[in-house]
Amino acid sequence: MSNYFLLFFGTVLVNNFVLVKFLGLCPFMGVSNKIETAVGMSFATTFVLTLTAALSYIVNNYILIPLDLIYLQTLSFILVIAVVVQFTEMVMHKTSPTLYRLLGIFLPLITTNCAILGLALLNINENHDFVESIIYGFAAGVGFSLVLVLFSSMRERLAASDIPLPFKGSAIAMITAGLMSLAFMGFTGLIK
């Protein structure tokens, strides 16, 4: 049980997907202008990550490995991700049209979010079993949500503050992201 907790907090804080592994940077920059959209994007990505982790484990262990088709991993994972994203989009369109409209193009773009393919491949690299895969996926989503919400709150404050002209706009956002990444390095060694 304790190693599940370690895996969870290790992935959320120490090996954060965005700030330490540098995966999923495009939504991190793209959807962080407003906190509402950031929260919506976080939920959608967490959902997709968790579901993808489970499905890709099943596909890998019960289809690809028995049939000796490991070289098809990337291809079949992309297929899994595309299906999960499409499914999420349908469910979201039904349950929350406002969020669906707010996220707009970023929702289908989760398909090409490298964090998700990265997660599926890392799960195999690190020989996670089924439960571990799901925890890893969910923790990656929580970590992504955490930094995305923090970052968008900062950007909302930055938008209203008096920034020197050369740093205005994306420049200060990049610097902020870099500083956040530095801050997250402080978690290294928290979990052995």
Binding site: L67, L69, M90
Partner: protein
């Protein structure tokens, strides 16, 4: 060798078929019936139901915009509404249709008014004040210039007059003057 390739193709095809079936089922299960965009567009329109766009009311015009009609046909809404519609539809703002003609508002020649209240019933924005057998008058701030009150008047005492430009109603176009540096990223 060829069996391996065949196996790979079959395995992927089966996988794709399963996922396709799943998506097909969920697209039926999670079908969205109504078109919410019409409701949103309708909420943006001024609800004067004046018909100056060529449609019988604001809702039909919202429906028409959703089907690709021009967004610049709503004079009561003016530039503001047109910009909102443009943003919602994701298209470029267009100059308002027929903006060249000066803004008109209704004016009741009060000594000829017999107090029949027909124009009050016709006014979509409740801009005409008055009661039965009392003289009516137009609240100029509320009048959108839709001309719907002109036809019902039995004594033809309603004129459409160009609005006199004063410091109160002059369009300052404050949005077009950059009063502060845009901080939006």
């Amino acid at each position: 060798m060829i069996e391996n390739i065949a196996l790979a193709v079959i395995a992927l095809a089966c996988l794709a078929a399963i996922f396709g079936a799943l998506l097909g089922y969920s697209s039926i299960r999670f079908k969205v019936e109504e078109e919410p965009i019409v409701e949103e567009l309708d909420a943006m329109l001024p609800q004067t139901q004046c018909g100056q766009c060529g449609y019988p009311g604001c809702k039909p015009y919202a429906q028409a915009i959703a089907n690709g009609e021009d967004i610049n046909k709503c004079p009561p809404g003016g530039d503001t509404v047109m910009r909102q519609l443009a943003e919602r539809m994701g298209i470029d703002p267009k100059p308002l249709d027929g903006e060249e003609k000066p803004k008109l508002i209704a004016f009741i020649r009060e000594d000829e008014c017999i107090g029949c209240t027909k124009c009050i019933q016709a006014c979509p924005v409740d801009a005409i004040m008055g009661a039965t057998r009392q003289m009516h008058t137009v609240i100029t701030d509320e009048c959108t210039g839709c001309e719907l009150c002109v036809a019902p008047c039995p004594t033809d005492c309603i004129d459409m007059l160009p609005i006199e430009i004063t410091t109160q109603n002059w369009q300052w176009n404050l949005q077009r003057i950059p009063t502060k540096i845009n901080t939006e990223l």
